[in-house]
């Protein structure tokens, strides 16, 4: 695959990861609020919570997010993936503001701005620099 096509693929997998992570977290949190029992050290309680459809859907989305992140690590450096996936924190702030009408403090706006700027900076570097795996596996 050409470098340009791989760049696009990396971007697409990143977007998919961020979407799965955000949807999974939201569904898990929404579902857990419908579960009457309080969680404790008892593992049966967690299994019971998984019967709630939103909890199950959330866990499924989060498992898919882990797989998408692994695919991302096959396309780019760890030191590239870590900062660019941190965009998820910025998305959480924006979703809270726009959809949940939460108040966002100046401190959190500044943090969001730094995350987006930093991720853009890292995103502009070569995504794969390690020699590991450069030869046939």
């Amino acid at each position: 695959m050409s470098a340009r096509a791989s760049d696009l693929k990396t971007f697409a997998v990143l977007i998919l990861f961020l979407a799965l992570k955000a949807a999974g977290n939201w569904s898990l949190a929404f579902g857990m609020k419908q579960v009457p029992q309080r969680m404790s050290a008892n593992p049966m309680l967690y299994l019971g919570a998984m019967l709630e459809p939103f909890v199950a859907a959330g866990i499924l989305a989060l498992i898919l997010a882990v797989l998408a992140r692994m695919a991302l690590l096959s396309l780019a450096d760890l030191s590239f993936v870590l900062p660019v996936t941190a965009i998820g924190y910025a998305i959480a702030v924006l979703v809270g503001k726009i959809f949940l009408h939460e108040t966002v403090t100046n401190r959190r706006w500044l943090g969001t701005l730094l995350i987006v700027a930093g991720a853009a900076l890292v995103g502009s570097t070569a995504r794969k620099t390690s020699a590991i795996g450069a030869q046939a596996p």
Partner: protein, 119 residues
């Protein structure tokens, strides 16, 4: 007890990501189509390091769940970004990635941002 959980969470995250990155670098480019995911799952069950990385991920996730039950999220999220710093160093020295000045500057800005958003 709280600090044991924090250290467990951070170390498990670091180990999980290092193992994952190492194995994924070696196994060629993966995609997220249905066929791509099937190939990815086949890779995971065949590589011992990837299985270990998933175990570490589970340890880190349950430590996080236990921590947020007793500690505020505004403490747990920034402290968990310690893994970010350790991993970037290890990516340079263990995974042999090139951390250019631009990438280092971007990573530091993101780190500061995460601490501000979470704290």
């Amino acid at each position: 007890m709280m600090w044991i959980l924090v250290v467990t969470m951070v170390l498990a995250t670091v180990l999980s990501d290092l193992l994952q990155s190492y194995e994924m670098k070696r196994s060629g480019e993966h995609s997220v189509s249905v066929r791509g995911l099937a190939r990815l799952l086949a890779t995971i069950v065949r590589r011992r390091f990837l299985i270990l990385s998933v175990v570490c991920l589970a340890v880190s996730f349950f430590s996080f769940m236990a921590l947020v039950q007793s500690e505020p999220l505004s403490f747990v999220v920034p402290i968990s970004s310690a893994s970010f710093v350790i991993e970037t160093f290890l990516a340079r020295f263990v995974l042999r990635e090139r951390i250019s000045a631009r990438r280092a500057a971007g990573a530091l800005a993101v780190l500061a941002g995460v601490v501000l958003v979470g704290g």
